[in-house]
Amino acid sequence: MLTAIDLACVRGDRRLFANLGFNLESGGRLHVTGENGSGKTSLLRMLCGLSPPEAGEIRWQGETIARQGDEYRKAVLYLGHHNALKEELTALENLRTTAALAGVAIDDAKGVELLGRVGLAGREELPVRFLSQGQKRRVALSRLLWSAAPLWVLDEPFVALDSAAVTWLADIVGKHLSAGGMAVLTSHQEVEIAAGKAQTVRLTQ
């Protein structure tokens, strides 16, 4: 269970949000909405533990995340604006390195299969810089297929994806939620996700 209590965020001199709280249970998803610059990404980075909240507390399974260290990092999968891909490396090399960084071993055959499932069959050995924006996003999203993290924090996951990929991703997130996972996501697109209890947090200035 992910709990946020009285969170506040300050960027420069501006207070983006304050007194923000929510409770995300197993199988639930949280939509963070708001205008550009309202602090959606800041909130998501806070929830991952990348930046400490200005005030308030974030708890995972009842304990403050700052005190949990690698226990919490194992439980979170964060997909930010950046795809975290190396342009010079192939899709397969990127996938294997990303997995290794998260402590998961994936061999070549498995990697090819996973890339096939995100619609990149035949492009495994192509350096990522030759892929389109949407294909790069798909390589980044392949992490969702091997990760065992129960909490997915996805920042604008649908950006640059075509409609087939959007449906695929909504389906994957739905399956994750029905399996007892949780998801926090921001999106400007209206996307149907079938499963899970939905909550919305709207950030206003």
Partner: protein, 242 residues
């Protein structure tokens, strides 16, 4: 909850199994070496810089063997410092820009270990070639075979030190505008002990005093920075990402 989830995703996670800390370290080193292999020009820049700077001095000064022998250790070491500086700025900058650094911070493996992997890869790519080519360049300065050996040894101990200290500077100046200049101002003063003991070892050997003392101090500095540099770098990286 986590267990039940893992049980429902057997095809990937359970089969793949977990990785130990050492294999995560190896994965970081392998990735950075692979990247260096694909971006050869960046790697060769600092090596050629070293070769050219060192070779310019004999051409400028002329064939005065006695003078060249005296300035050789200093010139080679200063050139090595500057060559190491050249590649430092990119140590974390590309990872920062493409989001890889965020993923490294969020990795279950300790960040200090991943940083160590990057430092090792940086040394293998930019430090080790300098060590290997230094004796050849030393010949232009009429250094005796034994002095060349000491030069190599001092660089072998000293160049990892340059990568370790440089990593702190690179992490501190991450995301700062005009970071390149700031990085030099920050890092070069920290290189002074390495320069003194490194060049000093070769000078001591040439003058017949024996290089052991200087080399031991250089090795002590290396041991100290192996311990502290990853920690300081990690702290700076976390601040840069906030």
């Amino acid at each position: 909850m986590r267990n039940s989830l893992a049980a429902q995703l057997p095809a990937t996670s359970a089969e793949a199994g977990g990785l130990g800390a050492l294999s995560v370290l190896a994965a970081v080193i392998r990735r950075d070496l692979l990247l260096a292999l694909r971006r050869k020009s960046e790697v060769l820049t600092s090596l050629f810089f070293f070769v050219i700077v060192v070779s310019l001095f004999p051409l400028g000064i002329g064939p005065e063997m006695a003078l060249l022998r005296i300035i050789a250790p200093g010139v080679l070491w200063v050139a090595a410092l500057l060559a190491a500086m050249l590649s430092l700025q990119r140590l974390f900058a590309t990872d920062y820009a493409d989001g890889t650094l965020e993923q490294m911070v969020l990795s279950p493996a300790p960040l200090g270990l991943l940083v160590m992997g990057k430092i090792v890869a940086h040394w293998l790519v930019t430090g080790l070639p300098l060590v290997l080519i230094a004796p050849l360049l030393g010949l232009q300065y009429d250094l005796a075979p034994q002095a060349l050996g000491i030069l190599m040894l001092s660089l072998l101990i000293g160049t990892p030190l340059l990568s370790l200290i440089g990593a702190i500077g690179a992490a501190l100046t991450l995301g700062v505008r005009g970071g390149g200049v700031l990085l030099s101002l920050l890092t070069l003063p920290l290189y002074i002990p390495a320069l003194i003991f490194g060049a000093g070892a070769v000078e001591a050997d040439i003058s017949g005093l024996g290089a052991v003392g200087h080399l031991s101090l250089l090795a002590a500095l290396l041991a100290l920075s192996v311990f502290f540099a990853p920690w300081a770098t990690t702290a700076s990286l976390r601040i840069a990402l906030e």
